[in-house]
Symmetry: C2
Subunit: 168 residues, 2 copies
DNA sequence: CGTCGGGTGTTATACTATAACATATTCTGT
DNA sequence: ACAGAATATGTTATAGTATAACACCCGACG
């Protein structure tokens, strides 16, 4: 019975949380990781990462493209897809297959499997990296003789905030 | 360990299995379920279901469209998407979000959450309906105050057959 | 008959993603 | 600083996935 109550960052950011800080932290981490690995976080890539982190709702490639154009920058689909590919390869963002959209990675410690809770009302995609869930997945697959190398887990539903009927 | 070895239909069909039988069973079940629920499994819908069941590899909407045209039938994207929507709503097929493709449901007992093992080599998508995995998912989500209503679980990797290097 | 609703046909278009090639920028060694 | 290589971005075109909007058909029911 929940014998172990580990301290974990709650997956869903509060409504009034300081999102500018989310962005700062993410960009800082990205800068650090790229420097460490000898990868180039160019202005374009950095800007795309910033746009992906615009909120906790996954954002489509063409929405990013529009924002880049607003910046006055020359941009076409490959511009943004290449930046996204770089960020995906570095584990700085995730792709949400069921939404054809992208979201910043909450724990960009190298590439890692991620599980998402996606609220159908507010659109927030919260990353949970639950080792027990990962283990359960591994067990299920192994029983079928299957070797998983890229688990996709996207759970649609209603987040705690959106389950409460708007206010008290 | 593995104290309980339940009898289950193996998720991955054998290489030489009688696939015509898979199709027969699926079409029979579909006919039965639609009759039971007062739904109309029209010739078009039945044919699309048959094409989705063409193999155990998920098939794209436009591939189905091509086949319909080969049948000599007038067909355009809405033709196939409408049929697919019907089959999805009846729980007779599943959509694989990560592939933008569709696959027949192995257990069309009403709409249900499904988990898939998708082999990156042979392309087979095997449906596993593992209650323990579903429970683990539910637990994880609940801890975050999240109410899941549509879990998407698509595990990419290598199936047992494809892990063996081609032959003995 | 008449009309009503579901299913399908038809046309057009939106949205997502990549191929192929040109140009620019950065890095490396001299 | 320079040449040459490698990486990154710009540019144009096109492939692939999905839906909107409206027209037509056809069987059910009065
Ligand atoms: Zn935030
Ligand atoms: Zn929400
Ligand atoms: Zn089969
Ligand atoms: Zn396989």
């Amino acid at each position: 019975m929940a014998a172990l109550k580990r301290r974990r960052t709650p997956p869903f950011p509060g409504r009034g949380h300081d999102h500018a800080r989310c962005v700062d932290v993410a960009l800082g981490e990205a800068t650090r990781l790229c420097a460490r690995d000898g990868q180039r976080l160019t202005p374009l890539r950095r800007r795309v990462l910033e746009l992906v982190w615009g909120s906790h709702q996954p954002v489509g490639a063409y929405a990013i493209l529009d924002r880049l154009k607003q910046d006055g920058r020359a941009a076409a689909p490959p511009t943004v897809y290449r930046a996204l590919d770089f960020l995906l390869a570095r584990g700085l963002i995730h792709r949400i297959a069921s939404l054809n959209a992208f979201v910043g990675c909450a724990r960009p410690d190298g590439s890692h499997p991620a599980q998402f809770l996606i609220c159908r009302r507010c659109g927030t995609a919260a990353e949970i990296d639950d080792p027990r869930l990962a283990a359960a997945i591994g067990r299920s697959a192994t029983e079928s003789g299957f070797a998983v190398d890229a688990p996709i887990v996207e759970l649609r539903g209603l987040c705690a905030g959106c389950r409460r009927p708007a206010a008290g």
